[in-house]
C-alpha cells in the first residue's frame, strides 16, 4: 500500500530560548500521516507533545523556536510558508482544537460571530449565508436549538458544549487534517466519551486525518489507528494501535500500559513507573528513559539508541537492536 502521505513531519526540532540558552524540547520528530488515518501522539506532560502540535501550524509561543526540520502538507513545507500562505492553510486545510474549550473561545464574541468569521476568512460568502452554514454546523455537532445558541456567548455554554463549538469551527471548512490537542482532558468523563464519539463519527464521515494528542492511553486505544509514544522530546515507539497495545516493545510503553488502572482488577497499590520524567531541554547523553528503566544497561545511559524498525513498528531501545548490526 503506497499512498502518498498527506502530512509528513521530518526531523522536527523545537527549542525554547531562555536567558540566551536554547532548551531543545522536541529533539527531532519524524512521522507521516496518511489520508483518513488517526494518529495518536501519547506522552506525559513535558514530553513535547503539545509543543509539537503547535509547531505544525507555527502557533508556538514567542519564546519557542523551530530549530530544524520540515512539516510537509501535500508536499508544501509549512515551515517555509509566507504568513498569508500559512493563514490560508490554518483552519481551512489543517484545523486545530485545544485542551481547554472554554478558554479557547473569545469571551466577548458570540459563538455565531466566531463561527461566521472563520467561514468568511476562507470563503467569500455573505454574512447571511455564513450564518446559515454556522447553524448547520452547530446542529451537526449536536448542539440543540442552534438558531438560538448562535447568538449566545461562550460563558453560556458548558465545557462540553464549548468543545462541540470548537469542533464545529474546526470542521467548518472540511479540513484534510484535524489536530486535536488533548480535546477531552478538561471535560467530565461522561462528556469525554460523547466528544470522542462525535470526533470519531465526524472523522469517518469527512475522511479526515487526525492527530490526536493525549496523555491517556485508553483514549488513544479507543480512537487511533497508529500510536506514537513521546518521551523527553523523542519518539520512543511508533506502531499500529493494535500492535502497540497487545505487544508493546519499549519498556516505557510497557510501563505505561502496566500503570493503567482497571476497575475490575482491585489492587493494593497503584502501579506506576518509578522516578520522574526528564526535565525538558536538559537531555541526557543516553536514552532519556534509562534512569527509570528496570532493564537499562550501561550502554543505555551512555548512548542514545536510534529508532529501530521492526516490522511495521519502530522502537528506540537498545534491547530491540537487530542482531548483527554494528552501531
Amino acid at each position: 500500500m503506497s499512498v502518498s502521505p498527506i502530512l509528513e513531519v521530518r526531523n522536527l526540532q523545537i527549542s525554547f530560548v531562555e536567558q540566551n540558552r536554547n532548551r531543545l524540547v522536541l529533539r527531532g520528530l519524524s512521522y507521516s500521516l496518511e489520508k483518513g488515518r488517526v494518529l495518536a501522539v501519547v506522552g506525559e506532560s513535558g514530553s513535547g507533545k503539545t509543543v509539537h502540535a503547535l509547531g505544525l501550524l507555527s502557533l508556538l509561543p514567542a519564546a519557542a523556536r523551530i530549530s530544524g526540520g520540515e512539516v510537509r502538507y501535500k508536499g508544501q513545507n509549512l515551515l517555509a510558508c509566507s504568513a498569508e500562505q500559512l493563514r490560508q492553510i490554518r483552519g481551512a486545510k489543517i484545523a486545530m482544537i485545544f485542551q481547554d474549550p472554554s478558554a479557547s473561545l473569545n469571551p466577548v464574541l458570540t459563538v455565531g460571530q466566531q463561527l461566521i468569521e472563520t467561514l468568511r476568512a476562507h470563503e467569500s460568502i455573505s454574512k447571511e449565508e455564513a450564518a446559515r452554514k454556522a447553524i448547520e454546523l452547530l446542529d451537526k455537532v449536536g448542539i440543540p436549538n442552534p438558531e438560538k445558541r448562535l447568538d449566545e456567548y461562550p460563558f453560556q455554554f458548558s465545557g462540553g458544549m464549548c468543545q462541540r463549538v470548537m469542533i464545529a469551527m474546526a470542521l467548518a471548512l472540511k479540513p484534510d487534517i484535524l489536530i486535536a490537542d488533548e480535546p477531552t482532558t478538561a471535560l467530565d468523563v461522561t462528556i469525554q466519551a460523547q466528544i470522542l464519539r462525535l470526533m470519531k463519527d465526524l472523522q469517518q464521515e469527512y475522511g479526515m486525518a487526525v492527530i490526536f494528542i493525549t496523555h491517556n492511553l485508553a483514549l488513544a486505544a479507543a480512537i487511533a489507528d497508529d500510536v506514537l509514544v513521546l518521551y523527553g522530546g523523542l519518539c520512543m515507539e511508533q506502531a499500529p494501535a493494535e500492535k502497540l497495545f497487545t505487544h508493546p516493545l519499549h519498556p516505557y510503553t510497557q510501563g505505561l500500559l502496566g500503570s493503567l488502572v482497571s476497575v475490575s482488577r482491585k489492587t493494593e497499590h497503584l502501579p506506576a513507573i518509578p522516578g520522574n520524567p526528564p526535565i525538558a531541554g536538559e537531555p541526557l547523553p543516553g536514552c532519556p528513559f534509562a534512569p527509570r528503566c528496570s532493564q537499562a544497561t550501561e550502554k543505555c545511559s551512555q548512548k542514545l539508541p536510534p529508532l529501530f524498525a521492526k516490522g511495521s513498528c519502530y522502537v528506540r531501545c537498545w534491547l530491540e537492536e537487530p542482531h548483527g548490526s554494528t552501531h
Binding site: 483552519g91 469571551p107 464574541l109 476568512a121
Partner: protein
Amino acid sequence: MLRYIIRRLLLLPLVMVGVTFLLFLLTQRLSPEMRASLYVRDARQMGALEEVISQYGLRDPVLKQYGRWMKNVIKGDLGYSPSANMPVAKAIKEYLPATIQLAVVTMLLVVFFGVWFGASSAVHKDKWQDTLVRLVSVGGFSLPIFVLGLLLLMVFYGKLGWFSPGGYSFQTDLIIHGVSFKTYTGFLLIDSLLNGQFRVFVDVLSHLVLPAVTLCIGSFALMVRVMRSSMLEELNKEYVRSARAKGLYERQVIYKHAGKNAIIPVITLASIQFIRLLGGTVIVETIFDYPGIGRFGVLAAQQLDIAGILGFSLMVAVLFVVGNLLSDILYTAVDPRIRLE
C-alpha cells in the same frame, strides 16, 4: 438593568447629603461674622454684618442651618455666589459646559491615542515602537501638569503666538452675548457651528487646544500603560491562539479578538478620569484662565464663598455618581458576561 439603575440613583441623595453635610460642618469653623462678611458691601457700616447674620440665621444650630440650605437646594436654589457675582445655579450652568467641552475633547484625544499607542506598543513589544511609546508615557507621567502647562504657554503663546490664553476675543464675546446668537446646547463649540459663526468656533477651539493638550499628557501616559499591559495579557490568552489557528487575518486576531477584551479596563480608567476632569481641571483652568467650573471652584474657595463651595461640591458629587453609573452601563455593552442586577 433598570432596577440596578434605579437602585443606584436612589443612593444619590445619600451621597449628596454625606458630602455637603461634612463640608457644611467645616464651614461652621468660621465665625458667623466671617461668613456674613462676603455679602456685605461695606463691613464698616454699623450693623450691616449683624443684619446679614440675623437675616440668614447664621447663629442658628448647625442642623437647622443645614436643613434650611438643603430645603432651598431641593427647590433648585443653591444660593448666591459673591465670588462669581451671580446665583450658584446660574454660575454652574454658565461654567460647566465649558469644562465638559474641555473634558470631552481631552478624553477623546486620550482614549483614541492611548488605545492606539498602547495596543501597538503591546503588539510590537520590545521593538522600537514600544520603547518610544514607553519613553513618552514615562515622560508624560513624570511631568507635573502645572509645569507642562506653563511650558506650553511659554512656547505656543509667548514665543510662537499661535494660541491665546485668557478670555475669548472681544468679537467672540460680542457675538455670543448678542441677541441673534441662539443657545442650543450650551457648548460653544457646537452652538457656534449651529449659529453659522465659524470664526467663533475657531476662537473657542484655539482656547481649547493648550488646556486640552496639557490635560491629555498625564492621562495619556496612564492610558497607554493600562492598554499596553491589558493587551499583552490578552495576546497571551488561549482564545488568541485559537483565533490564529482558525486562519483569521492577523489584524482580526489583534484588534477584534484581543483588542475587544483588552479595552475593558480602559473603560474603567477612562470614566474615572473623565469624571475627575469634570470636577477638577482646577490647575489647568487656572493656568490658562479658562472660563470653566474648576476656576469657579477655586475662586469660591479663595474668597470663602460658602454657597459657591457647597454648590460646587454638590455638583461634583452628582457627577461622580452619575458618571460611575454610566461607566457601569458601558461595561455591559462591551463585556457580555457583566449583567447589572
